[in-house]
Symmetry: C2
Subunit: 404 residues, 2 copies
DNA sequence: CCACTATATTCACAGATCTAACTAACCGGA
DNA sequence: TCCGGTTAGTTAGATCTGTGAATATAGTGG
């Protein structure tokens, strides 16, 4: 093997698969089923190399032949279809947010095998306790799903807030002030005895978005809204993380000079003006009935979204106002990243995305830089779980996942 | 050789050097002089590989041994220093802006051998004429500098405005409306009989910025101001171009809802509020004496900057107002890209950078996401030529440049 | 002059991937 | 039914790249 660069000195983006083995696994995984010929086209490798690599993958039990492809056109040998052996390995993804702890168990093919949603620890809990709870619940998830623990490759853990790459949280959003400096990753590895990976929620969501569009999108971004607002950039299936793992902090770009103060210390931040917390605050001020939601978290935001969707005009006005601001963030993403596709994801868009989507689309279309190149804006149908799934998928793509 | 991927289907970023040969050339070039031991550390290759590759480079005349390094510490054989043979090859970089045509001849070591600045063609000229002029003047530059034409590897050409990757301009800024759809790159290749490369000015500037800081900066961005405002992201020496080659269009992010209309069709664009043209317009409105500058181009902006620097308080106020807006753009870059370093470059910053720099620094520092990770903001001392130099360097890093 | 140290090279080998030639499987018409 | 046409995949041999172990090279300090 060659230059196994330590992730701590990685150049700010999750590098493209280096070995042919990883490359081929990746391509089969994202295509679902694929023949060897198609692999030669997709990878640029020649047929004999594909044959050799695939044989080893089959020997190792990671890939299986699964019938014949359609006889194309005039004649000739039909293609032998290859598929990832889903049951070969598993990974766990965990998304910690203010309201919830979301667990997913993902198989080697990238499919979600089990999903578990629990009430979040809130902001008053001790990080050590939360981490222990995550470890216990992870074990429980694996046990209950009947998967052999030995086949679980690792755990991807995502949370909001600026991170020190793979270490822990630096300065933190309101819901995570107690986490600053806590060594999340190493504690999880110790407790679970398996590799762990720590990532920003929005970045992971970009990795977790399934591209339903068959167009080959190599440059896409996710706009993620949970308690905060963030974004992630994905290049050919690999997420861009930035120098310190905090790229895509679109929630803290300034969209109004002299605007309201944000918890981050800035003023006029997008998140402070239009994030879920701001929406909830406005709704409270307007006297809307939000039920019994203590927090200003996503649960309260969801209540407002439901009101808006059921015809409450005051709620709708508040959400639409938020959308107008967030559209500026979307435009910024399109201009800065020059993506082919922008996906709206995360719990907040999962409940209110249908209101936001057209407003964001309209704004993207009305900018030359968007219009001339045709940036598409779509809603992720798995918004609730995208971050957790993305965490799992990132672990699935790490070096741990391609060994025999 | 393997997967020689066509640049048109490249994944949106200039990929890292694939062959060891290119990697080693690149490392020696950016370090200036380097020993083989250092190369093993920097590249991850083992000593024998470095020896072998370096020997071939020496045989091919691209690299030369240049004396001994300092005897480190206790004893031992001193390092043999390696250096790029500057005279081995050359490349030309051309920057087309509204006011000027800037040519640079760059040697194989990345040094600027010749520099030529000519009055720009203005906005009324026919693209075909301009391209022919560029071809002629390129030949003239090479001839006058006494460099063997056969050693010139190619030409990098940069201009403002959204591009179709390596083809031509799509929708265009005011000064380039006639260029839309013109096949810049292929015409240059035909006229000159050498490979050409077309790039956005800001993106090229990111490639052209020399890192004086010895800290190893792997993720940096350039904020570029000429007639417009743009930015470029550089990852480990490779520029990020986006899906269509238009990443970093920070000039067209919206920083004021309902703000003034921009030529791009949007409203409240940073460029419309605070770009050189806006500054010139404000200065005209304020009755400042700008001399005989017809255009609203960089020349007129430079006149205002000189007034401001010489103590004219009205001019200074106008520039400082521009800086306050552009600081928002800088903050956006820091948040979206998560860079270690932001360099201010381009003709406009070359004349007015000392006014802008402290204002931008202050704003970056006042955001948590900037402060906690320490994004540095500096001024490029070669701002005038950064785009042209970057164009040349990008050509120098292309596949054409590493063959024997 | 002799340890000692750091730098660089040689040599034999392992692995990946290439080209070229071959086998496998299926179509359709004589 | 058999045979050329066509596409898919394999085998065999060559090449290239990088590796580990041992060795050569060129200084320092006693």
């Amino acid at each position: 093997m060659q230059q196994v660069s330590d992730s701590s000195q990685s150049p700010g983006y999750d590098p493209a698969p280096t070995s042919s083995r990883a490359l081929i696994v990746d391509r089969i995984r994202s295509a679902g089923t694929l023949s060897r010929v198609e692999l030669t086209q997709l990878t640029g490798l020649k047929a004999p190399s594909v044959t050799a690599v695939v044989r080893r993958l089959i020997d190792d039990g990671l890939v299986a032949e699964t019938g014949r492809g359609t006889s194309t056109s005039i004649g000739g040998k039909p293609r032998t279809l290859l598929q990832i052996r889903a049951a070969a390995r598993y990974v766990v993804g965990v998304h910690l947010s203010e309201d919830h702890l979301t667990y997913v168990l993902v198989d080697y093919a990238g499919g979600v095998v089990a999903r578990w949603r629990r009430d979040g620890p809130g902001d008053e809990s001790d990080p050590e306790q939360v981490v222990e709870r995550v470890a216990n619940e992870t074990r429980e998830l694996i046990a209950r799903s009947g998967v052999d623990q030995a086949l679980v490759l690792g755990l991807g853990f995502v949370c909001p807030g600026p991170l020190i790459r793979n270490r822990g949280v630096t300065s933190a959003p309101p819901s995570m002030t107690r986490w600053v400096g806590f060594p999340i990753r190493s504690r999880l590895e110790e407790l679970l005895g398996m590799p762990a990976l720590l990532e920003n929620d929005a970045t992971a969501a970009a990795a977790g978005t399934r591209l339903t569009t068959s167009h080959d999108v190599s440059v896409m971004a996710a706009l993620f809204m949970s308690e905060g607002i963030g974004s992630g950039l994905r290049l050919n299936g690999n997420v861009y993380q930035g120098a310190h793992g905090n790229a895509g902090e679109v929630g803290h770009i300034c969209v109004q000079i002299g605007g309201p103060r944000c918890w981050c210390g800035g003023t006029g931040c997008l998140e402070a003006l239009a994030g879920p917390a701001a929406v909830v605050e406005k709704a409270r001020a307007a006297g809307l009935d939000l039920g019994s939601h203590r927090h200003s978290g996503v649960a309260a935001f969801a209540a407002i979204a439901r009101l808006a969707l059921s015809g409450d005009s005051r709620a709708e006005a508040i959400i639409r106002d938020s959308a107008a601001w967030i559209a500026i963030g979307a435009q910024t993403i399109a201009n800065m990243y020059d993506v082919q596709l922008l996906v709206l994801t995360g719990p907040a868009f999962a409940v209110a995305g249908t209101i936001y989507l057209p407003i964001l689309q309209e704004r993207i279309l009305s900018s030359v830089f968007g219009r001339s190149v045709g940036t598409e804006v779509v809603l992720d149908e798995r918004g609730h779980d995208a971050a957790a799934i993305g965490a799992a998928l990132m672990m699935l793509k790490s070096e741990h996942a391609i060994s025999a």
